[in-house]
Structure formats: structure tokens, C-alpha cells
């Protein structure tokens, strides 16, 4: 059986890539995708840990995380679509109506 640590390291790597993506990308849709990647990394960790402990808990968490991801996506893409209606671009660098 593949050791749980392997899965945890994989999930750590995916989470880091997600965080990195959020920090460096400029397109909100891609940023959002990177956030989904972070959630997925957490899900891998949950399932792997659940197997490690022989608990069904790990998979329960994933079900809730999935529901949350779905809800976030519908609202997030709604925001992006509605923002595109009033301006032609959605680059986060152009979100500069409000400055410090």
C-alpha cells in the first residue's frame, strides 16, 4: 500500500502550486482555478488521512468541500460575468477604482 506520507506530500505540493498561482496570476478566472486547486489538495489530504485512520470521516469532509466549491463557483463566475457586463476587461490590475 502506498504510504500516506506520499499522498500528503503530493497534496502539499498541489496546495503550494495553488497558492503560487493565486499570487502570480492576473486573470481572476485563473486565480479562481488556482483556488480550486487548493481545495483539491485539501481533499486529497482528507481522503488519504481517512484511509490512514481507517475512518470514513475523511471522505465526509470531501463531500462538504465539494458542495462548498460548487457554491463558490456559481457565485464567483456570476460576479465575473456581471463585472464583464459593465467593463470589457476583467484583469485584476485594472481593478483600480479604489486606491489606498
Amino acid at each position: 500500500m502506498v504510504p500516506t506520507s506520499y499522498y500528503m506530500i503530493l497534496s502539499g505540493i498541489l496546495f503550494t502550486i495553488g497558492v503560487l498561482g493565486v499570487l502570480v496570476k492576473r486573470n481572476p478566472i485563473v486565480i479562481f482555478m488556482c483556488i480550486e486547486l487548493m481545495l483539491n489538495a485539501a481533499n486529497i489530504a482528507f481522503v488519504a488521512l481517512g484511509r490512514h485512520f481507517a475512518q470514513v470521516n475523511g471522505q465526509m469532509y470531501v463531500i462538504f468541500a465539494l458542495a462548498v466549491a460548487a457554491a463558490e463557483v456559481s457565485v464567483g463566475l456570476g460576479i465575473i460575468v456581471s463585472i464583464f457586463r459593465t467593463r470589457e476587461s476583467i484583469n485584476v490590475d485594472e481593478m483600480n477604482l479604489m486606491k489606498f
Partner: protein
């Protein structure tokens, strides 16, 4: 050969594996590494691609390989749901929006914010070491026996635990319906032209 590999894959009768096969990593490890490599590479492509459509496609590949990883963790139901929800619904919505807004054309050279990128990389490196090394220390012992986990991911086990009033999952499950209701109302409020 195939037979032996199959045995190795099952991990049941390792004593009968010919000596030369012992040197090989067992099949599950190989499968894991292949899937993990696909997941990580496609995840990196999500970040490195300039074209949002390609990013989305790479993310779909990541999700699919994650789904297969769930199968190797004997979480079949989660694997199927991962494909249905993430690959089949969420990413399709992403693609739909990208296409609707016609963002597909490769963006004009992204203004690179060097300082921010460097800070992000440094931060990520810290994260990576912290997150990747922590489990190494914690999980020195191996997981439970295979018999204990083989039924964890079946639909009946999941359903029976999710709806079991003696377990704490029933309430969050119901609370999730409020969340989805909020999302539905919210999406309509945001995106419908006239409320």
C-alpha cells in the same frame, strides 16, 4: 510476469514473487507516482499557461488524475463525484464563462510584477517545505491494514455514515442545502439582467 505483477499489485502473496521482481517498486507505488506526476505537471501548467482555456484544460487533467488517485485510496464514490462535480460541472462552467467572455485569445503579454512574483515564489518555497515535511515526520508508521479500509469508500458506507443521526455529518449535510440555496439565489441576483 503479468500474473506476478498482479500479485504484487494485490500485495497479498508477496512471498511468491520471484526475486528479481522484489527490486521493482510494486505496482501501486508506480501507479501513484505516474498519477502524482500527471497531477503536479498539469497543475503547474495551470499556472504557467497564459491562455485561460489551456489553464482550464490542464486543471481538468489534474482533477481527473486526482480522481484516479482517489480510486487508489479506495474512495470510489468520491472519485466518481470528483469527476462529475469538478470535471463535469465546475470546469465546464469555467470554460463556458471563458468562452462567453471570449477571453480565449492569448492575452497580451502579462504585465510581470517581478517583486510580487519573487515574493510569491519565496513564500511558496516556505510553504512547500513546511507542508511537505510535516507529514514525513508524522506518518512514520504505515497505514492500517487493507482489510480495514477496503469498504470505506463504497456508496453504502458513505451513505450510511452521512445520514446516520449518531454521527456529526447529518447536520452539516443539511446546512449545505442552505449554502447551495444561497449560491443559487446569489448567482441569479448577480447574473440575471433584470431581477
Amino acid at each position: 510476469m503479468g500474473n506476478a505483477l498482479c500479485r504484487a499489485a494485490r500485495g497479498t502473496c508477496s512471498a511468491y514473487i520471484p526475486g528479481y521482481l522484489n527490486a521493482m517498486p510494486s505496482a501501486p507505488i508506480l501507479v501513484f507516482f505516474i498519477l502524482a506526476a500527471v497531477a503536479v505537471i498539469s497543475a503547474l501548467m495551470v499556472v504557467t499557461n497564459v491562455n485561460p482555456v489551456r489553464s482550464a484544460l490542464s486543471l481538468v487533467v489534474t482533477f481527473l488524475s486526482v480522481a484516479l488517485l482517489y480510486i487508489t485510496l479506495s474512495a470510489h464514490f468520491i472519485a466518481a463525484v470528483q469527476i462529475i462535480v469538478y470535471a463535469g460541472a465546475i470546469m465546464v462552467l469555467f470554460l463556458f464563462v471563458i468562452m462567453l467572455l471570449n477571453l480565449g485569445a492569448p492575452a497580451e503579454a502579462e504585465p510581470k510584477n517581478k517583486a510580487q512574483s519573487r515574493a510569491a515564489l519565496a513564500l511558496s518555497a516556505v510553504f512547500l517545505t513546511a507542508l511537505a515535511l510535516a507529514p514525513l515526520v508524522t506518518f512514520s508508521t504505515d497505514a492500517k491494514s487493507e482489510a480495514a479500509i477496503k469498504n470505506l469508500g463504497t456508496v453504502s458506507t458513505i451513505g450510511a455514515s452521512l445520514y446516520n443521526p449518531a454521527l456529526p455529518w447529518l447536520f452539516p449535510f443539511e446546512a449545505t442545502s442552505i449554502l447551495l440555496l444561497v449560491a443559487v439565489v446569489g448567482a441569479i441576483v448577480l447574473a440575471k439582467r433584470r431581477i
